[in-house]
C-alpha cells in the first residue's frame, strides 16, 4: 500500500493542496518554517493516495510511494 511522504521544509504555504484534496486530509499547521512560511500538515488516516496534492504542488513537497 502506498503512503504519502511530505517534505515541509520545501513548503511555501500556498494552500493549493488544501483546496484540491478530495478527502480534506491536508490542513494548515501552526508550524512556521525557517523561511517564515506557515506550512501544511497531512492527516495520514484520511489520505486516499490520489496524488492531487502532488500534481498541484509548485514546490515539490509531496511524494506518494
Amino acid at each position: 500500500m502506498e503512503k504519502i511522504s511530505i517534505d515541509v521544509s520545501r513548503c511555501k504555504g500556498c494552500g493549493y493542496c488544501i483546496c484540491v484534496c478530495p478527502s480534506g486530509a491536508i490542513t494548515k499547521s501552526e508550524e512556521v518554517s525557517k523561511k517564515g512560511y506557515t506550512v501544511i500538515s497531512v492527516d495520514e488516516s484520511k489520505c486516499v493516495q490520489c496524488g492531487s496534492c502532488y500534481k498541484m504542488c509548485p514546490d515539490y513537497v509531496f511524494q506518494i510511494f
Binding site: 494552500g15 512560511y37 496524488g51 502532488y54 500534481k55 504542488c57 509548485p58
Partner: protein, 246 residues
C-alpha cells in the same frame, strides 16, 4: 499509484513566490522528459524573467537568452545541436510582446523546437505590469484602473495568430486543477515527441497563476484562471499534425 519527484529536480529551493505556476510547469517538463528518456539531451533556453529561476531547480543544461529572445536563441541552438531536445521557456511578456517577432518568424520557418510559454497575463518579475495577454478590466501596476481596450488595445490570443501557420503543434493548457495539469502534461509530452521526430515548430502555452501580481490569494488565483482567463483563452489543441495520441 506512485508519484515521485523526477530525478532532474534538485533540492535547491526555487525563488518563485508561493503559488507560482512555474514550479508546476517545470515539474511537468521534468516528468515528461524522464518518461521519454531524454532528460540528458535537454537544453533549456531561459528568459530574463521569473522563468529564469528554473535553472537552479532542474539539472538541465541551460542557456540564458536576452529578454524576449529565447525562441530565436533556441532555434539557433537546435540548428547546431540537432540531436538535442531544445526547449525555449519564455513567459507571455517575452513571447508575445518583446519577442513576438521571434515567435512569429520561428513559426514561419517551422523551426524544430518547443516553445513552452507560461502565460500569467502580466509581466511578473518587473512588478506586474500590463502585458499583451492582460485581460480587459484587469488591474495591473501599469493599468491601475483596469485594462481599457479602447486605450490600451485588445489582448493577443496567440492561438488565433498561429493556427493558420504551417507548424507541427499548437496547444493551450492550464494548471488550475489536477485534471488540467494532467492535460497540460499530455500536450508537453506530445510536443516533445514531435520534436524527437523532427516534425517542426511546437508551441504549448500554459495558463499559470501569479497570486503576487494579481493581488489575489493562491486559491482565488485558480478561480481567476478558471472563470476569467479561460473565457478569453480557451484551452485545447489548435494545430496537431497527428499520430501522437498515446
Amino acid at each position: 499509484m506512485k508519484y515521485s519527484i523526477p530525478k532532474t529536480i534538485t533540492n535547491i529551493e526555487s525563488g518563485w513566490c508561493p503559488g507560482c505556476g512555474h514550479g508546476i510547469v517545470t515539474r511537468l517538463l521534468a516528468e515528461t522528459t524522464e518518461e521519454l528518456g531524454i532528460s540528458d539531451k535537454v537544453i533549456i533556453v531561459r528568459d530574463v524573467a521569473c522563468g529564469s529561476m528554473q535553472s537552479g531547480v532542474v539539472t538541465y543544461n541551460n542557456i540564458g537568452a536576452a529578454h524576449g529572445r529565447t525562441i530565436a536563441v533556441a532555434a539557433g541552438a537546435k540548428r547546431i545541436r540537432k540531436e538535442d531536445i531544445v526547449i525555449a521557456n519564455p513567459g507571455d511578456g517575452s513571447a508575445y510582446s518583446i519577442g513576438i517577432e521571434s515567435t512569429m518568424h520561428a513559426a514561419l520557418r517551422n523551426e524544430n523546437i518547443l516553445a513552452l510559454v507560461v502565460n500569467n497575463s502580466v509581466f511578473g518579475m518587473t512588478g506586474g505590469q500590463m502585458s499583451p495577454t492582460t485581460l480587459p478590466g484587469q488591474k495591473t501596476t501599469s493599468s491601475p484602473y483596469g485594462r481599457d481596450t479602447s486605450y490600451n488595445g485588445n489582448l493577443l490570443d496567440i492561438m488565433k495568430v498561429l493556427n493558420t501557420f504551417d507548424i507541427a503543434y499548437l496547444a493551450r493548457g492550464s494548471v488550475d486543477s489536477p485534471s488540467a495539469v494532467m492535460k497540460a502534461k499530455k500536450y508537453i509530452k506530445k510536443a516533445l515527441m514531435m520534436q524527437q521526430d523532427n516534425k517542426g515548430f511546437c508551441l504549448v502555452e500554459i495558463l499559470s497563476p501569479c497570486p503576487t501580481n494579481w493581488g489575489l490569494s493562491p486559491e482565488d488565483s485558480l478561480k481567476f484562471i478558471k472563470e476569467k482567463q479561460q473565457e478569453y483563452f480557451p484551452l485545447g489543441e489548435y494545430v496537431d499534425k497527428g499520430g501522437y495520441d498515446k
